[in-house]
Subunit: 253 residues, 2 copies
């Protein structure tokens, strides 16, 4: 069994803790956090501490704190021999100034209180040394079937891609909801369409799945839509994304 | 039983035909189209014709042709007494110049050859007269449990909302795929995130589900992402959508 210490008590830390506890061959021996209250929920299943001097030895230290705190927080375990891995999509591995540094980045959006099935969540791992990479891989494979070796450079692009795929598409759902509300229509009416939009990707590439007036270069409908949009930001988004779709399908027109 | 004639032989017509054939108390008596080849797939289960003079009497005529053909095509049944309903999201009901005009708009994205479960697809109906609206409602309720009475004005906004929710979000998936490819990463790695993005909407509003650097106004990460984007269109989209998210969450910052 691989042993671990979890550093951090927030949303990602909570989800990782649950996943590690459910996994067969890994254990969370201890959780470190500065806030006693936040540590409480972990204390039933693991040791907890607010003192860095009390942190125990483990194979892997998982740092699940906010991006800008990683470097500072990693210093409390720099005297340890285990792998020290952060969980961020956008922070390079080398901010952890230790030859045992690594990354254990679960590529998913975590909602507080909503348990997720980790078995299919891609886990992107990185380590300075091959033997650490192997150990981190074993660790990750106990949690998920989708483990990828990803460099810091690749991870940076992947994180941007995740922003487009998740943050931005979710925001478009928000704007669609606003448009419904402006006509007293329930957002519910759009949900089957939204679910089908992502379901399609099981069988089709996003390019093949593309439909709508911009793909057809249906100028009349696009102009009618632009006239129908009152909010200037909505108009700008409509124009920019339509232009981008058009240029992606130019060879078909 | 309510009888119907389907006018049109394309992708939407095919999906509607299947749905009508599966429904209990409605029948498709005939399919009209200009193309003999395209009519073939319908001919096993219904009469077909290429001659407008041969169109039979029915309770409902469903016009499933491209938006700009609706007005012209509707003229071939203007001598009929049944309801004449088009299936478009963005065309006003009154382009059909008949007191029996109506709309039967299924709010979904239809992929050729991929059968969909119509029972949950929202169907937006509209008619000039109350008794026609009632009949169209009965017709629609035989196909789906989600039937909405929607005016042409509402439908126009709803169609724009659908473009944001489906066309534009799908395009963001395309851009995310491009970013993956630029680093030799498989698009597969993003799919669990994409599925979770829409799955979240079963429990949360899009606003509550929003995460990411723009929501946190994490200027450092956003700048790093912008620096990491090479394509100027990607940069513009990143900026515009991030600004829009920020202004949506200003009160939290």
């Amino acid at each position: 069994m691989l042993t671990s210490v979890l550093i951090g008590t927030g949303n990602v830390a909570s989800h990782l803790f649950d996943a590690f506890m459910d996994a067969d061959n890994i254990g969370v021996q201890q959780v470190f956090g500065r806030n006693t209250m936040a540590l409480e929920k972990f204390s039933k299943h693991a040791l907890t501490t607010t003192k860095s001097s009390e942190i125990i030895d483990a194979d892997v230290y998982i740092i699940a704190v906010s991006d800008d705190a990683i470097e500072e927080v990693s210093k409390i375990v720099l005297n340890k021999e285990g792998i020290i891995a952060h969980t961020s999509g956008s922070v390079p591995m080398n901010v952890i100034q230790h030859s045992n540094s690594g990354v254990f980045y679960p590529l998913q959006t975590f909602t507080k209180g909503k348990k997720v099935d980790f078995s299919k969540i891609p886990i992107c791992i990185e380590a300075r040394h091959d033997n650490h990479l192997e150990k981190l891989k074993t660790f990750a494979q106990n949690v998920s079937t989708a483990v990828y070796e990803i460099s810091s450079e690749q991870r940076e692009k992947l994180h941007i891609a995740a922003v487009f795929a998740n943050n931005f598409s979710n925001h478009l759902f928000k704007l669609a909801e606003e448009l419904c509300q402006s006509e007293d229509l329930p957002f519910e009416i759009l949900k089957p369409l939204i679910y089908e939009t992502t379901h399609k990707l099981k069988h089709l590439s996003p390019k093949a799945a593309q439909t709508g007036p911009a793909r057809r270069n249906d100028i009349q409908t696009m102009q009618k839509h632009l006239d129908g949009l009152e909010n200037p930001v909505h108009k700008k988004i409509y124009q920019l994304l339509s232009e981008s779709i058009k240029s992606n399908h130019e060879e078909e027109l």
